[in-house]
Symmetry: C2
Subunit: 110 residues, 2 copies
Amino acid sequence: MSNSKLYKGSLTTIILKLLNEHDKMYGYEITQKVKALTKGELKITEGALYPALHKLEAEGLLDVEVAKVDNRLRKYYKLTETGTKETVNKLEELAEYIKTMQTLVNPKLV
Amino acid sequence: MSNSKLYKGSLTTIILKLLNEHDKMYGYEITQKVKALTKGELKITEGALYPALHKLEAEGLLDVEVAKVDNRLRKYYKLTETGTKETVNKLEELAEYIKTMQTLVNPKLV
DNA sequence: TTCTTATACATAAGAAAATTATGCATATAT
DNA sequence: ATATATGCATAATTTTCTTATGTATAAGAA
């Protein structure tokens, strides 16, 4: 992310969630999707994204499939079975975190 | 934090918000307050807390006042004027971040 | 009385995850 | 021709956290 504050650990969750919804995506597509969904508020940098994708692949959460489109390389990533399960966990963790932060930061509403 | 996933940047916001509500607090008190408010879900470690407090002080967001209670040292921190302004910013950032994450993670509800 | 737990601070080493800065290559639009 | 967009990648650095220590006093349990 360039301009806005990405909180540590968020990126993995974002990637997994997007892949959970879109079946298969390639890196550049993910950066554009995030930009579009957040109306430009969140910009994923390649320096963060590609190492994160590689790590998820190494951990067995993602599978890769290389394709050539318009003479340009694309690496399509998709969730493995393990990755799908982990996505559920990550989303629960995020929801939990948000709830906790709201408790701390806005105690009257909780 | 020990057990649960603290997201990067959260700690500063938590500290500022607590000081915004409680006028002055000392380090140990902050750890206990967070533990109590979150029912043990979030545990701030000293290794994270004290350096964070020192940094906020160095940045001019906090003032320190040393006290001796029961023959034990306490360092009371309170917000400076700048710190109070920055608290507002940090809280807005957090709210924005939560909104953004919900957009990404639960797009149908937004 | 000794040992554990709680209170209260601090720092150092290391890990994790980002930012920033590059680099390469092709395609399209100006 | 040149800039912008598409598409990948990595290295250096920074930030922020965890884990592991260390010091010291007080209170409670064995």
